[in-house]
């Protein structure tokens, strides 16, 4: 394979090639700069930062800012660190991602394999959900959560994120299932499998790649969401993003920049982890060999 593709590469001289790589390297370094700043400053004592030299490597290496950000920093009025809010986020993100992905898969299945009158219009309307700005729904959503008795709870946030995510997950799964061979569904029907049996036994086991896409997308969005968290969460259900803001904004005492940097990295870690763990399943073609070869 690789031998065949070499012909199509642009032939360049050694000098041009070096120049290209040099420029690319520079850009890469430039983009890595914020991460560098965050990492080095999160492992310095505070006096090294306040004394200037934000770009310097730490003279004294310490993990204390990390420990403090995690378990004892002042968040609002309580010195709890980010830890409880991290679990709040997990309790919100996991159900929200799971429910919205499963509902999206079911929607995609119905919209492609159990076609009904008006299904394209319905799909179009669901797509609309992807384009509604968050701010528009804040007040109606607050009213709805209040009526349902979910105001200020983790489940309220789960509901909001599921409702917002369903447009995207439906879009992903619908487009994936649209090219899934309908003959497989028909064969299963003749074999006597019902609606949900076909879904669980035939369709879902072949949905790996798109499920990963949906999970990464939903996880990143919901984990990083600030607006809904700040608007609808109660004191004991605030997600990580809101807590991070409270940590950085708290006005008592000195600004502990090293703790802030450590907290920011902590808040970003889970999404990075999801990319690293799930990203490689992207490329696996799980459909190989289902139909003609």
């Amino acid at each position: 394979m690789s031998a065949a593709t070499q012909d199509t590469a642009i032939r360049t001289g050694r000098v041009t090639r070096t120049l290209i790589y040099l420029i690319l390297l520079l850009f890469a370094l430039f983009y890595m700069l914020p991460l560098y700043v965050m990492v080095v400053n999160s492992v310095k004592p505070l006096n090294e930062i306040t004394g200037g030299g934000m770009m310097n490597l730490p003279q004294v290496f310490t993990l204390e800012p990390w420990a403090k950000a995690w378990s004892s920093a002042q968040i609002g009025v309580e010195p709890t660190g980010l830890q409880p809010y991290f679990w709040n986020s997990i309790k919100m993100v996991v159900p929200a991602v799971a429910i919205s992905t499963i509902l999206g898969a079911l929607n995609g299945y119905v919209l492609t394999k159990w076609r009904f009158r008006g299904d394209t219009i319905l799909f179009g309307l669901m797509l609309f959900a992807c384009f509604i700005p968050f701010q528009i729904v804040l007040i109606p959503m607050a009213r709805m959560l209040g009526l349902m008795g979910l105001a200020g709870t983790t489940w309220g946030l789960v509901l909001v994120h599921v409702v917002y995510g369903i447009g995207f997950t439906t879009l992903y799964f619908r487009n994936y299932y649209a090219v899934f061979p309908t003959e497989l569904i028909r064969a299963a029907q003749i074999d006597g499998a019902g609606f949900f049996q076909i879904f669980w036994r035939i369709l879902l086991p072949s949905s790996g790649p798109i499920a990963v896409v949906s999970i990464i997308w939903q996880f990143t969005n919901i984990w990083n969401d600030f607006l809904f968290g700040a608007s609808f969460a109660g004191a004991d259900s605030q997600p990580m993003t809101v807590a991070l803001n409270n940590l950085v904004q708290s006005s008592t005492g000195v600004k502990e920049y090293n703790v802030h940097f450590a907290g920011a990295i902590l808040a970003a870690l889970p999404t990075l982890l999801v990319y690293i763990v799930a990203g490689r399943y992207f490329v696996r073609g799980l459909m190989a060999g289902s139909v003609k070869g």
Binding site: P181, E183, L184, R186, A187, A188, Q189, I190, D191, G192, A193, Q197, R201, I202, P205, S206, L286, M287, A288, G289, S290, V291, K292, G293
Partner: protein, 370 residues
């Protein structure tokens, strides 16, 4: 009442009727082939038998039970799809027993049925593999195994061989025929390949434009095509259909056909009723293999006509040589022995077996029945 009855069945999508009043009765153990070009409605008809498409009007009965509105899994049918439709996430063994599992068959029985089928199709060594690791021919066998294991009343095949390469297709064709002879099951088989239709079937339904053009045994279809469409669709190369005029010579009806140079030749009919068409135009149908050289002419035929015509093109195909000439203003193909001395541009004395020739009414395109 047959085993499978398709009783005055039609299919419409909205206001458009795509199948018109199809009426076929299949006996137990028959191998019925639905053949026709794409879009003729053959797959739609098969899907209606399977229950994957609704029946707009009329009835489909299996063993005298009306199947309209019955779920596919409750019809006791099995289907082999063009793409095989093997479940990609299951092993071959799981693929074969999935239907039994869904019907609540206990596991020991499923395993036994799977073993029997695997043995019959010689796929025992593949049972633990995934479909992705199989060749086209192996997938084809697994798809048939999945159908066989259910022990259904009727097997439905939807162009099962069209994804295989030419050599494998011929092998699998023989295999399917063997299987049918061995098991004596009732089969409805859809194909666009007229050779498959001829070789496999006990009866053929030739379809075109949503109509069954002709229903009959392969021999009936080949020798006595109901109309010009059936005549030209069945057979390879296709039957030559040329314009001719009926005349009387010596009290016998003949077909007067133009040769390459506008002179004419008189080909005497075997059917005396053609006398009634004296002076009228007809379309004369001659199969390529009935135009030969003198030595290869059928010795049992009572009616060999001669004509000398110019050869336009020769196409040696190993076992035969196909010779193209101009007859009645059209290209006509003759199927000659490979050692016949034919050269392009030369005049050659052909022998035409007029016993096998058929005549069509040019207005209705229907065969003139002797």
């Amino acid at each position: 009442m047959g085993f499978l009855d398709i009783d005055h069945t039609t299919k419409s999508y909205g206001a458009i009727e795509v199948l018109h009043n199809v009426d076929i009765s299949v006996e137990e153990g028959e191998f019925l082939v639905l053949v026709g070009p794409s879009g003729c409605g053959k797959s739609t008809l098969l899907n209606m038998i399977a229950g994957l498409e609704d029946i707009t009007s009329g009835e489909i009965r299996i063993k005298d039970k009306v199947m309209n509105g019955v779920h596919p899994s409750k019809r006791n049918i099995a289907m082999v799809f063009q793409s095989y439709a093997l479940y990609p996430n299951m092993t071959v063994g799981q693929n074969i027993t999935f239907g039994l599992e869904m019907h609540g068959t206990p596991k020991p029985e499923r395993q036994k049925a799977m073993k029997d089928v695997a043995e019959l199709l010689q796929i025992e060594q593949l049972l633990d593999r995934k479909p992705g690791a199989l060749s086209g021919g192996q997938r084809q066998r697994v798809a048939m195994g999945r159908a066989l294991v259910r022990n259904p009343d009727v097997f439905l095949f939807d162009e099962p061989l069209s994804n295989l390469d030419a050599k494998l297709r011929v092998d699998m064709r023989t295999e399917i025929k063997k299987l049918h002879q061995k098991l004596g099951t009732t089969i409805v088989y859809v194909t666009h390949d007229q050779i498959e239709a001829m070789t496999l079937s006990t009866r053929i339904a030739v379809m075109y434009g949503g109509y069954v053009q002709q229903l009959g045994t392969p021999q009936e279809i080949y020798d006595s095509p109901a109309n010009v469409f059936v005549a030209t669709f069945m057979g390879s190369p296709a039957m030559n259909v040329v314009p001719a005029k009926v005349a009387m010579e010596g009290g016998k009806p003949v077909a007067v056909v133009a040769l390459h140079d506008d002179s004419t030749v008189s080909l005497p009919f075997s059917q005396n009723n053609m006398a009634g068409w004296d002076g009228r135009d007809i379309m004369l149908g001659i199969r390529p293999e009935t135009i030969t050289d003198e030595d290869a002419a059928d010795r049992n035929s009572s009616n060999i006509a001669r004509m000398t015509n110019r050869i336009v093109v020769t196409e040696p195909a190993g076992s035969d040589t196909f010779v193209t000439m101009t007859l009645g203003g059209k290209d006509v193909i003759a199927r000659m022995r490979s050692d016949a001395d034919v050269r392009p541009g030369a005049n050659f004395p052909f022998a035409v077996n007029m016993e096998k020739a058929v005549a069509f009414d040019p207005e209705t395109e229907m065969r003139i029945v002797p």
